[in-house]
Point group: D2
């Protein structure tokens, strides 16, 4: 595994992300977080097409939370930082901090994931590049709890 | 196959369908059409989970068109009528007319579909309940062309 | 206000709701919850187009949480029950329980909302039909916490 | 206006873009095209939040078409080139060619737009940076028609 830390994910708010209240539709914030997770996996060398398919080991999300701090508008530039945490052999948690272009926090989110082996959906172990990434995380993270 | 004609698909416009211009995001009209197609398949007795999976026979869309006649707002009630048409042994076309609560047309759309056999993606024949449905359509349809 | 209790929201899982893992994309569960909220507001006589616009009183979501209990597939039939709770003069919380066709819980979710008066985004009071709905809720609810 | 030609829009296919058939959901291709349009406007110096709001001059899409040439998978890298064309004082058309990482065309699409002045929705004239962009386009474009 690459030992340089992963870079943050950056993305512009699209028109399709917004709703009739003129801001980003609330559930789409979690899409931005998942995009950041995909980007991190790609940086770790994971084949996204294979990883996010319906065969072999699957890694569904068991829980998600998001706290909204500021409204986001079409054209806004976002940066998402992920703080990963291993929970046990099969489970891990990702904490996301979303920043706007001026560096202010606009949202905090968290997802919990479990590794399951298909077809029986039995608990599997966290696969290699992910496990290394989780190891690389500090034992404590100040703003891990949204 | 059931010989009674299929009933139209009805649906309310959700907040998530809208964008910051206050109306339904343009590409979502095609989602409404696809929902109507799924609803028609369900009425024909098709198992949607199996039909829309990544194994066996797949039926991808090769072309889609939509013409927007009136803006749609959150809470609006829609009705979608489908006019199906067989093109050849593997291909068919669906024409959608979307009406608002007062019966005015708000959009017209069309999708073209091809039946492919996985894993080689070779042309397959239109499966049974669909074929019957296509047969049931009149030979000509006045507003088939959007 | 109508004193008959609101009926649950029902909805079929659409193809567009799914992802390449073959099940509903996680963040879309929160869309289903919001649709149920819109349906409840419509039952209360609220004009959705006006309520979900960018003028006057807005009611943004400040926090959302969801716990996934079972995977959902294209064509699955869902029922969403909302348990509303007033938090203070400006804030309320909605707890959603999602059931499949056999009555099993498939997900639990919660959203928190704040009433803000535009253009200054100052705290406003919960508007009438919503306030009545929140009053109608039992003081305690067994599975209010997801 | 900047006289250097606009650069193409690049984007990775996200998991949320896919459906249970394992590929990008058909209507999402039009989202990618609209993102490319937003990106072009941003390059022209347009304030996206203002442009895509519900006040002043609005520029709704009146028609959209898309032809699918190859399936797209999660993680695929896309490039979208826009070929703009002025139709009259109020209307213009954008033709999109989508390429994969190896330079193969994966889809072709087209949208037609009309400038309307709110609140009466009367025809308005194409605003300045857009007009310049449309002028910069060649009189003929070989693959303008999808």
């Amino acid at each position: 595994m690459n030992t340089t830390p992963l870079h943050d994910y950056e993305r512009t708010v699209h028109f399709a992300d917004t709703d009739a209240a003129g801001v980003v539709y609330f559930a789409n914030l979690l899409r931005f977080c998942h995009e950041a997770y995909e980007d991190a996996l790609a940086q770790l060398g994971v084949d996204l097409r294979q990883f996010f398919s319906s065969s072999g080991l699957i890694v569904p999300i068991t829980e998600a939370q998001v706290r909204f701090l500021k409204p986001l508008y079409c054209g806004d530039r976002l940066r998402v930082r992920i703080d990963p945490q291993r929970l046990d052999n099969s489970c891990f948690q990702l904490t996301y901090t979303l920043y706007d272009a001026t560096g202010n926090r606009v949202a905090i989110a968290r997802t919990q994931h479990i590794c399951l082996q298909l077809p029986q959906r039995r608990r599997g172990t966290i696969p290699d590049p992910l496990r290394e990434w989780l190891k690389s995380a500090p034992a404590t993270a100040s703003d891990r709890q949204p």
